[in-house]
């Protein structure tokens, strides 16, 4: 795929292209010849190209050729054409002269600025700015300062062009003079903005004083360009100036200065920015906080905590929180704890508590246990949520006690969740489970019993199972149903037989249905864990299958069976292909269960079941079925050969 290599500048090619230019060939061919001459032609082509500079359509093509051909001939031809072209075509020639930076054209261009054609005069002025020779610089400066008023905007633009060139050539003094001339001239504001930037950068002696003057300008656009200049050219000197100036600046400017200060990386700016984070002006505070979010460290913690305590709005609090989360160190934890003990508003206390949790401040556990007993429910829940990750097994007795004292369901749930998290995160479960079981046995209130049964079930504490299965016979139907649901979340299938008994013998249909769901959850989880024999799994699903009635129950059964890669599973699933409510689920489950079977001796059963599957819409499922069919074909061929 290499590019067609363009034949290079052999004289013969140049001659061929010249002949095209001088022929009656179509415009396109002449335009293309001009381009090719620009890429590879020699100076012999200059006259032929120059002859097209007065051609309405081809002039621009000819100029491309002339601008690109090396040597003095092209520049001379373009210079000559300044006298032989008119209007827009002359403007094009002027631009090409400028592109070649032809200093010899400066006198002619200077003359053109005084001509009657305003557009030509304008182009000539700008060309002089671009050429930026000493003679050209002198001319455009004079045009700006003492030329006709109608020339001033173009002269100012030319001065900006020339000054930029001077600055790039390290001629700062000359550049500064040009920028100052623009600043003094009555020209559009955008020119003053550009000149302000240049004037700051080109000054060597009074740069900072000049910058400060711009920062104090009444014109926001000038203040803005001063800030932009600092941000694009950061330095210690600029930072020092801003550090001093920021104290007296209006709020809008202060926030921009803060952004500029961070670009300057000046150590003296940090205390200033820190102080601004608690400024009376909201936009200044936000600007400072945004900076601290990028560079904040432990020294900023007191300021940020004050921001939290001041609580000036969710945006500031959220920003301060996010910074404090990132700042490490026990000293910061201690400061937050101190602030928590003295905070009075609920919302601030909650934020501080969450912060301690996010910082993993284990030293805060005692205080959080204290806060967890607060009468303010929101504070209590926040503390219990933080304790989920911070508390240790030594704290369990106190957490259990707190749970037992709860009278509000949401707080109790938060407390029980904290107990569960501590037990789960600190194995072995045995000692903790024993404490919880003791609490369960001592509980008198149904809600408390439900909470402990839920925790013990999630933990899978086997010593509690006899007590919990006995609860299935309790007279309180709410307790029975919640116990069934909790047992369904047991990490292994241990409670399954007790639950089957409820399914098959309980008098209440709702209770039976809930137990069936729990059974299917346990069996499905066991299938996922692949620790249980297929025979046991199939026996459970077959036993459960006799009880399923609702669509929801059927879906759970099908979902579980789909996880069992056994021919019996596929057979059972095929019986649901005729059931309109669940046939789609059955197809997915069959495809899932049949995968390995299609490659083994049971492939014929799979083949027979696949034939019963109606047309499917899902392209991915279609692909999977096609894959099974390919596997079956390959298996048949392999087994036939054997």
């Amino acid at each position: 795929m290499a590019a067609p290599v363009i034949s290079m500048g052999a004289a013969s090619n140049t001659q061929a292209w010249i002949e095209i230019l001088q022929s009656e060939r179509p415009l396109f061919e002449k335009a293309r010849a001009c381009q090719q001459l620009g890429e590879a032609g020699t100076s012999e082509a200059v006259p032929a190209l120059a002859a097209l500079l007065n051609h309405d359509m081809l002039s621009v093509y000819a100029r491309t050729g002339l601008e690109r051909i090396p040597g003095p001939e092209a520049a001379a031809a373009l210079r000559d054409a300044l006298a032989t072209t008119q209007g827009t075509l002359k403007i094009g020639v002027i631009q090409s002269v400028a592109a070649l930076c032809d200093e010899e054209a400066v006198p002619a261009l200077s003359g053109l600025t005084r001509g009657s054609d305003a557009a030509v005069a304008s182009a000539a002025m700008l060309a002089l700015g671009r050429i930026a020779s000493d003679q050209a610089v002198t001319f455009v400066m004079q045009a700006l300062t003492s030329g006709p008023p109608e020339h001033r905007p173009d002269a100012a633009a030319a001065c900006l062009l020339a000054a930029q060139h001077q600055l790039s050539q390290k001629k700062a003094e000359s550049a500064a003079a040009l920028y100052d001339a623009v600043l003094k001239a009555k020209v559009p504001a955008s020119y003053h903005i550009g000149a302000t930037r240049g004037a700051i950068l080109s000054r060597t002696q009074d740069r900072i004083a000049f910058l400060v003057k711009q920062l104090r300008s009444q014109d926001p656009a000038i203040r803005d360009v001063a800030i932009l200049t600092v941000r694009q050219n950061p330095s210690e000197a600029f930072a020092d100036a801003l550090n001093a100036e920021i104290q007296n600046a209006p709020a809008g400017l202060q926030s921009k200065m803060i952004g500029a200060l961070i670009d300057c990386h000046n150590a003296q700016s940090l205390p200033i920015i820190r102080a601004k984070a608690v400024s009376e002006e909201a936009q200044v505070r936000m600007a400072a906080l945004n900076v601290l979010s990028r560079i904040g460290g432990p020294d900023d913690a007191p300021t940020l905590i004050k921001v939290l305590l001041d609580n000036q709005g969710p945006e500031e609090v959220s920003l301060a929180m996010s910074i404090l989360e990132q700042i490490g160190g026990p000293e910061t934890d201690a400061m937050i704890l101190k602030a928590l003990s003295s905070a009075t508003t609920s919302s601030v206390r909650i934020e501080l508590i969450r912060l301690l949790g996010k910082r993993s401040a284990t030293s805060a556990t005692d205080e959080l246990l204290h806060q967890a007993g607060d009468p303010d429910q929101a504070v209590s829940i926040a503390a219990l949520q933080a304790l989920r990750s911070l508390a240790s097994p030594e704290d369990l007795p106190r957490l259990i006690w707190l749970t037992r004292q709860c009278t509000v369901e949401s707080v109790r749930d938060a407390a029980a969740n904290a107990v569960y998290s501590v037990c789960k995160d600190h194995p072995p479960v045995g000692p903790s489970g024993a404490l919880i079981l003791k609490a369960l046995k001592a509980a008198n209130v149904t809600a408390e019993k439900q909470a402990w049964i839920r925790v013990l079930s999630l933990l899978g504490y086997s010593d509690a199972l006899p007590f919990m299965t006995a609860t299935l016979q309790d007279a309180d139907p709410d307790l029975v149903q919640s116990t069934i649901s909790s047992l369904g979340r047991w990490p292994d299938p241990s409670p399954i037989n007790a639950l089957f008994q409820v399914v098959e013998s309980h008098a209440n249909a709702t209770v039976r249905s809930r137990a069936l769901v729990a059974v299917l959850q346990l069996a499905t989880r066991a299938a996922d864990q692949t620790l249980t024999d297929h025979d046991d799994l199939l026996a459970w699903f077959q036993r459960a299958g006799k009880a399923v009635q609702s669509v929801q129950e059927k879906r759970l059964l099908i979902s579980g069976l789909g996880r069992v890669n056994h021919v019996e599973s596929v057979r059972m699933l095929s019986s649901y292909l005729d059931d309109a409510d669940v046939k789609a689920e059955a197809v997915y489950a069959i495809v899932n269960a049949a995968g390995p079977l299609a490659k083994g001796p049971d492939y014929k059963t799979v083949e027979a079941v696949l034939k019963k599957i109606p047309a499917v819409q899902d392209p991915r499922l279609r692909d999977q079925i096609a894959g099974l069919e390919r596997d079956i074909k390959a298996t048949r061929a392999r087994l036939d050969n054997e």
């Binding site: 590019a3 890429e39 400028a98 305003a118 700008l126 173009d154 062009l161 955008s190």
Partner: protein, 449 residues
């Protein structure tokens, strides 16, 4: 309707553009004074309904409303502190579409349509412009905007030649404006993360980077001439702008300009390369420089940085289909891959992060947002308009990464190895290559204003 161009005081050919640069500012200011003011000011305009107060709002005009302009506008319109007030396109149907889009969003009829971008530049109430014209107008429209005191978000590629992006960079500095190039992948979390892995040393010592690009292609041909429509329907002379004259054909103005030498630079290389090579520049912490050597082969272009890192621009024959074997097709369009001596990362527009086995366990992240969204990039621009900070893809970064693209493409065009001096911005001892840095612009248009 007032005349779109000032009356020329010299005889001009109907084939030549008519704007008078000398009168530009006067003309533009006059145009600004004639702008219609909406009779009904909705609550949003007054800073209620969650929108920013007028003093904090950035007022924006749109220049160019093709498919990309439509997309950019759709993701920037929801910004609460931004108000689009004017749209400009040389095609009537497109400016009407743009106006409808803006008016529907704000629930009013206030958006003003223009055929001539100078009318937007002349409005003193407009702070910034979104430029999404055809590629051949990006540089000039941006330069004219900064000269008129506007901040600029310009779609990429921001220029068709090295000379154009140099001129653009200089103009943005010269007039002290904020500029963002529309290489929005720098603002996307998945690409940022991949770059972080490269810059932080998690990949080990970075040694190779892959940037996906189209197979370069271009034509110099002209399409058959068709009768020019009225300027009100389609202003062909203005559409051509700085590009050389050629006869009108509707295909050009409806997207068919792509692939034509006069309207698309670097043989389509920057369509993806402006993004993917730019990301490599960033990953290699080379925003201030670029590869020194470039050499094309059948499958791509190989570049070499001064720090020894190799850049491979892979030609993708089926960029929107199967991107294998160079890249994982699943990562999406515009994929890049950064390879270090301790692992590699690949990502693309789908947001997926693919890692070498050595890193998959510890460094895997998920990014749901597609990598193509320009919303975050636009937000970065608007924040910088307020703060006067440099945007993430500012003029300096654009200049170097675009220049690297042009150099890479030129090695393909010339069919040989070329060496570039990033400081002088010239090819080393290579007159043939240096002749291709600039092209002439059609008068009266100029990049040096």
């Amino acid at each position: 309707m007032k005349p779109l161009n000032p009356t020329p005081n010299h005889q001009t050919s109907p084939r030549q553009s008519k704007i008078s640069r000398r009168n530009f500012m006067k003309h533009a200011l006059a145009a600004g004074s004639a702008v219609a003011v909406p009779a009904f000011i909705p609550a949003r305009a007054l800073g209620r309904d969650g929108a920013a107060a007028p003093s904090e709002r950035i007022v924006v005009g749109v220049i160019g409303h093709g498919p990309r302009g439509r997309y950019d506008l759709s993701v920037m319109l929801p910004e609460k502190d931004v108000q689009f007030v004017a749209v400009c396109d040389v095609l009537r149907e497109r400016r009407e579409q743009a106006k409808a889009m803006v008016d529907t969003h704000y629930g009013n009829q206030a958006c003003v349509m223009y055929r001539d971008m100078f009318e937007i530049y002349g409005r003193s109430d407009i702070d910034a412009v979104l430029i999404a014209t055809g590629e051949h107008w990006h540089t000039l429209a941006s330069i004219l905007a900064v000269k008129a005191g506007k901040d600029v978000y310009s779609e990429k590629p921001c220029g068709m030649t090295m000379g154009e992006v140099q001129a653009l960079d200089e103009a943005v500095h010269r007039y002290g404006r904020v500029f963002q190039a529309g290489t929005q992948r720098r603002s996307q979390a998945n690409f940022q993360y991949a770059v972080h892995l490269a810059q932080s040393g998690i990949l080990g010592r970075l040694h190779t980077m892959h940037a996906s690009v189209y197979v370069p292609k271009r034509t110099y041909d002209w399409l058959p001439a068709q009768p020019e429509p009225s300027p009100e329907e389609c202003d062909w002379d203005r559409w051509l702008g700085p590009s050389p004259w050629r006869p009108y054909n509707r295909q050009y103005v409806t997207g068919g300009w792509r692939g034509h030498y006069d309207f698309e630079g670097a043989a389509n290389f920057l369509d993806w390369g402006a993004h993917t090579l730019d990301l490599c520049q960033w990953a290699n912490q080379s925003d201030h420089t670029m590869p020194l050597e470039y050499e094309a082969n059948d499958s791509g272009i190989v570049g070499q940085y001064a720090n020894g890192v190799k850049l491979i621009c892979d030609f993708l024959p089926d960029p929107f289909g199967n991107r294998a074997p160079q890249y994982k097709t699943s990562t999406g369009t515009c994929p890049v891959r950064f390879i270090g001596d301790e692992g590699w990362v690949e990502t693309g527009d789908n947001g997926e992060i693919v890692l070498s086995e050595s890193l998959a366990r510890t460094q895997q992240r998920r990014f749901e947002k597609p990598g193509t969204s320009a919303a975050g990039h636009g937000r970065n621009f608007f924040d910088c308009v307020k703060s006067r900070a440099l945007p993430v893809c500012n003029q300096n970064i654009m200049r170097t990464s675009h220049t690297a693209c042009f150099a890479a493409e030129l090695s393909w065009e010339l069919g040989r190895k070329i060496t570039f001096d990033p400081v002088a911005e010239r090819f080393v001892n290579d007159a043939e290559a240096n002749r291709r840095i600039n092209r002439a612009t059609r008068a009266p248009w100029s990049f040096y204003v």
